[in-house]
């Protein structure tokens, strides 16, 4: 056998070796890889396995039979059934309520990220150390080499390890609320409504704007319809009669629409009674609305207004 033939065989053998190793690796990967959930129950199981039972030690919600775990399981099932939130978002919802300690998969941020970064870092350091040791065994002269290549290699190992760790953390770490697009429509609506109420006492224009924003995404939101109309009417009282008339018509129509959407929404009924008397001068209708309002157990703030107004209305009717 000539030397050239032998030299040609070495790369060919290496190529075959690479192909065999790659095929085996892909076969193993394909066999052990977990597929996505097939049914809703699979999804519920997968999510509940990622959440720790808040009242028991070392058990996931999937395993635990504790009351709190059962409640969480029911909530997960409900959210999976609704089909609105992703698995990550459902886990984030639970963690937002019970705290980060219920996460069985550590977060990819803060101190938790160390859990993800350390294993790849140690692996890289170990591999680097092995490589250095092999080099020393094969070429003892390397041991006497200058320290600079050693430091470069060390830095490289650390960079590779940390980089790998960050990648693993990003890929596998648990995402919490605000770290992902977890804000549901109902959450943002609730937040806008709460902000609007807060602003209504001090900055009516901003409050109306916030209600408008709610109505853009949820045109049938009775709270936004009612309180926007109420604030518009209150603001219009400082302007001329023509504008007040317009505001009155629009407000009465808005309260009517809110009651059409939700007949039991007592706030709309109360405001309708107030506006009809104060701005429309119709005591008869006002009494009817206010009486029905009080029968519907309005919130304390509205109740106080209505009770004092009803005395005035009764007096006007004689």
């Amino acid at each position: 056998m000539s030397e050239t033939t032998a030299q040609r065989r070495v790369p060919r053998r290496a190529a075959w070796l690479v192909i065999i190793v790659a095929a085996a690796a892909l076969l193993v990967f394909g066999t052990v890889r977990e597929g996505g959930p097939l049914t809703q129950q699979d999804r519920i199981d997968a999510v509940t396995k990622r959440i720790a039972c808040p009242t028991c030690d070392g058990e996931s919600v999937y395993v635990s039979r504790a009351s709190a775990a059962e409640s969480i399981r029911a909530e997960v099932a409900r959210q999976v059934g609704d089909g609105v939130r992703t698995d990550d978002e459902i886990v984030a919802y639970v963690a937002e309520r019970f705290g980060g300690q219920v996460l069985l998969v550590p977060r990819a941020t803060g101190l938790d990220a160390v859990v993800w970064i350390l294993p790849p870092l140690f692996t890289a350091v170990l591999l680097g150390a092995l490589w250095m040791a092999f080099r020393r065994w094969r070429a003892p002269s390397v041991a006497t080499a200058t320290r600079r290549p050693l430091l470069v290699a060390l830095a490289l190992v650390v960079v590779v390890g940390v980089g790998g760790g960050v990648l693993v953390a990003r890929q596998s770490g648990q995402r919490l609320p605000l770290e992902t697009l977890t804000g549901g429509i109902e959450d943002s609506t609730a937040s806008l409504l709460a902000q609007a109420r807060l602003a209504s006492g001090t900055d009516v224009a901003s409050a109306i704007e916030l209600y408008d924003r709610v109505l853009v995404t949820d045109p049938d939101n009775v709270e936004a319809i009612t309180y926007r109309a109420w604030l518009v009417m209150l603001s219009a009282r400082q302007f001329d009669d023509d504008l007040q008339r317009q505001a009155y018509g629009a407000s009465v129509a808005a309260f009517g629409r809110a009651l059409e959407l939700e007949p039991s929404y007592v706030d709309a009924l109360c405001f309708l009674g107030i506006v009809v008397f104060r701005d429309g001068g119709d005591a008869e209708s006002s009494r009817e609305f206010l009486t029905r309002c009080l029968a519907g157990a309005p919130p304390a703030e509205v109740k106080g207004l209505v009770e004092s107004l009803l005395v005035e209305v009764e007096a006007a009717l004689g």
Partner: protein, 180 residues
């Protein structure tokens, strides 16, 4: 020598930082427990009372709302009940009185009804059959008490048994804070 001095400086800096953290940290949290929901809009709660009346928390804006998570077999719940009755009596005389609701946790309607018949308390009792309200508030064990302000923001969470007078003093504090 230089290294030793540097080490001493670093140690002193770390110690100073720890002392600073201890000084500025708010260690006294009072009776209130931590929750990510504090200062946030209250979760949407929609259910029925054990008398089949509809209830929606979002529709109670304009009132202070107290939610007490309860189970008729839980010892601390039974122990704190007289203070809740006392609190409800005091609030009923106020114009801006608190609306108190019991959230029934993993318990039967009849058991709850029997308990309240024997021990008093005529406020509404909300069903939470599948624990949705408990999960929404992050309640793992009862009793727990939550206070929601008239704007719909969660203001206080109290874990465990309520001591006598605690709700009254917390409400006074919260009302003062919201008025100022």
């Amino acid at each position: 020598m230089k290294a030793a001095r540097l080490g001493a400086i670093v140690a002193a800096l770390v110690l100073a930082a720890l002392v600073a953290v201890l000084i500025v940290s708010d260690g006294d949290v009072g009776v209130g427990a931590r929750s990510p929901l504090l200062g946030q809009p209250a979760p949407a709660v929609s259910t029925t009372t054990i008398d089949d009346q509809p209830f929606a928390l979002a529709r109670r804006k304009g009132s202070w709302v107290v939610l007490n998570f309860f189970n008729s077999t839980c010892v601390p719940c039974i122990a704190e009940h007289p203070s809740l009755v006392e609190f409800a009596r005091g609030e009923s005389s106020r114009v801006d009185g608190v609306e108190l609701y019991t959230v029934v946790n993993d318990d039967a309607d009849d058991a709850v009804r029997d308990f309240f018949t024997s021990n008093g308390g005529d406020w509404p009792k909300l069903r939470d059959a599948d624990g949705a309200i408990a999960v929404a508030f992050g309640v793992a064990k009862v009793p727990e008490t939550w206070i929601i302000d008239p704007n719909g923001f969660v203001r206080l969470r109290i874990i465990g048994q309520l001591a006598s007078g605690v709700l009254e003093s917390q409400m006074t504090r919260l009302r003062e804070t919201s008025e100022s």
